[in-house]
């Protein structure tokens, strides 16, 4: 089963033009069809790494593989790669360039030389999916922050990428909106897409992700399944990372003998079930 990894960063090192080392020998394997969360403090290199995954940045050394093949940095190959690996940036205000929601979303597919009538269909479909069909005729600057975020996600989904990378998608959103967006992602996962996101929210990452990477100072400092990474990894620096609350409580309950050793809960429902 060697073809399960859709994206791979192998020993990737990157320096910004001012000499700051942003990535320092990063290895990261992204499993196809899975939910991967990247945790880590500000400035750990998460965004820089993401920009490598669709060829915006080129590693100084090391390589990036998409579907087991090293990516090439010529225009045709890059367009193909960027069609398949979409990035939703953190601040929708900077990602949105058009005052019209409709035009904004049509930008990506238009660059792929898809016929106009097909683009129109795709745009309509994705607007329904993201529940922004009612702001179709509104200018971008009329939208709330949450709506802008939805548009910026639609921007990417409309291109039907295989991998969707999200930089801090939950920041500034209210819980209600976070849930709405997450249910869209769940559907995408069902369709076989791969999702990678960075976040500061350990509780969220713990119960959402299939696999977690922790980065610090341009390095991967820990990786593993959520239950494993937060319980077993000794070398984690807990000053940067809080333990998920659920896990802390689980450990207390385990200590008091109320819960079984082997049934680590991923959410509250599971916790309820596991308590003797």
């Amino acid at each position: 089963m060697k073809d399960q990894f859709i994206l791979e960063a192998l020993e990737v090192t990157f320096e910004y033009s001012d000499g700051t080392k942003a990535l320092d020998g990063v290895n990261m394997l992204i499993e196809k069809g899975k939910k991967t969360a990247v945790l880590g403090p500000n400035g750990a290199g998460k965004t820089t790494l993401f920009l490598h995954f669709n060829g915006i940045l080129k590693p100084k050394s090391g390589k990036i593989l998409y579907n087991r093949e090293e990516i090439k940095y010529n225009r045709t190959e890059l367009t193909k790669l960027r069609k398949n690996v979409g990035i939703v940036f953190q601040n929708p205000d900077i990602q949105l360039f058009s005052a019209s929601v409709y035009q904004e979303i049509s930008f990506g597919p238009m660059n792929l030389d898809i016929p106009e009538n097909v683009v129109k269909e795709k745009v309509e479909k994705v607007m329904k999916q993201m529940k922004i069909i009612d702001v179709k005729d509104k200018p971008t600057h009329f939208l709330s922050y949450g709506q802008k975020k939805s548009v910026s996600i639609a921007d990417i989904i409309v291109m039907e990428p295989e991998v969707i990378i999200l930089d801090e998608p939950t920041v500034y959103l209210d819980p209600n909106h976070v849930q709405e967006i997450m249910s869209v992602f769940d559907k995408l996962i069902e369709e076989g897409k791969t999702i990678i996101l960075s976040t500061h929210d350990v509780d969220f990452a713990y119960s959402w992700a299939d696999y977690i990477y922790v980065m610090k100072n341009g390095k991967v400092v820990a990786k593993g399944e959520p239950e494993v990474i937060f319980t077993n990894v000794k070398e984690l620096d807990w000053r940067d990372l809080r333990k998920p609350m659920l896990l802390e409580i689980y450990e207390i309950l385990k200590e008091k003998g109320i819960i079984d050793e082997n049934s680590i809960p991923k959410n509250i429902e599971e916790l309820k079930k596991y308590i003797k």
């Binding site: 367009t79 960027r82 360039f97 058009s98 005052a99 049509s106 930008f107 005729d137 200018p139 291109m159």
Partner: protein, 255 residues
């Protein structure tokens, strides 16, 4: 921004933008060609259409009409009041030092014509901008074969105006909360800081925007799909009719 708000929410939002543009510009030309009566008719006509048909509140419309009023008043008065040699030709005159200032009947008639023409043309502009969003206007320009780089700059500028406007607002509030505008001296300093930080932010954001577009396969051209509009023949006939009525009555009433 008031005008921008209404351009998206008015009742004529869905009318084909070319129809609206045509109507506004044809009428504008008539304002220049014909005399004061045509102009007064246009002022009334545009008010009626904008307020009754597009449902822009009358109060808002009048408030907007007052914006250019100070320029109009000053300029018209400057044109009316002249240094004159012959006092007998003047209706009113006044000696200040060695100079005689005065107003002549001819001056008044020029000024009155100018006054009404300006308001009439302004009404046409208001009809256009209050009913037609900038996005649509840029779309029309696209059909006029204007270089795409210029249109892309228009498109970007329009969007970014609101981004920077919000940013400027946030900085202003933050400065105001920290007493930045309590005195005149503070105000200058704060405004200088606001402007320079806005400039830096613009520069940084432009880099980030480029990266975000690149990630969506940007290849040097901002290709997008425009909204579909269909011409409405009833509207077109209406426009032709109104213009014809304006032209014929203007010619007939002219001696």
């Amino acid at each position: 921004m008031l005008i921008d708000n209404y351009s998206y929410t008015n009742r004529m939002y869905n009318v084909h933008p070319v129809e609206k543009l045509l109507f506004a510009f044809l009428t504008m030309i008539l304002c220049f060609v014909f005399d004061i009566y045509t102009n007064i008719a246009v002022i009334i006509l545009m008010f009626m259409i904008t307020v009754l048909k597009a449902k822009i509140p009358g109060k808002v419309y009048i408030k907007l009409m007052l914006i250019p009023f100070s320029f109009l008043m000053i300029s018209v008065l400057t044109i009316i009041i002249n240094v004159i040699g012959d006092k007998s030709a003047a209706l009113i005159s006044l000696d200040i030092f060695e100079v005689t200032l005065g107003i002549t009947p001819k001056g008044i008639s020029t000024a009155v014509t100018l006054f009404f023409r300006t308001l009439a043309v302004v009404s046409c502009l208001y009809f256009l901008v209050l009913t037609t969003p900038v996005v649509d206007i840029i779309d029309i320009l696209k059909k006029l074969k204007i270089p795409s780089l210029f249109l892309e700059l228009l498109q970007l500028t329009y969007r970014l105006i609101f981004v920077l406007f919000d940013a400027a607002g946030e900085v202003y509030t933050s400065q105001n909360s920290r007493l930045g505008y309590a005195t005149l001296e503070n105000s200058y300093r704060s405004l200088g800081l606001l402007i320079s930080s806005l400039f830096i932010k613009s520069y940084k954001d432009s880099q980030d925007l480029y990266v975000a577009l690149e990630a969506r396969c940007y290849n040097g051209e901002l290709k997008v799909i425009s909204k579909d509009y269909r011409f409405c023949y009833r509207n077109l006939i209406f426009i032709v009719l109104i213009e014809l009525v304006l032209i014929s009555t203007s010619i007939l009433l002219r001696r």
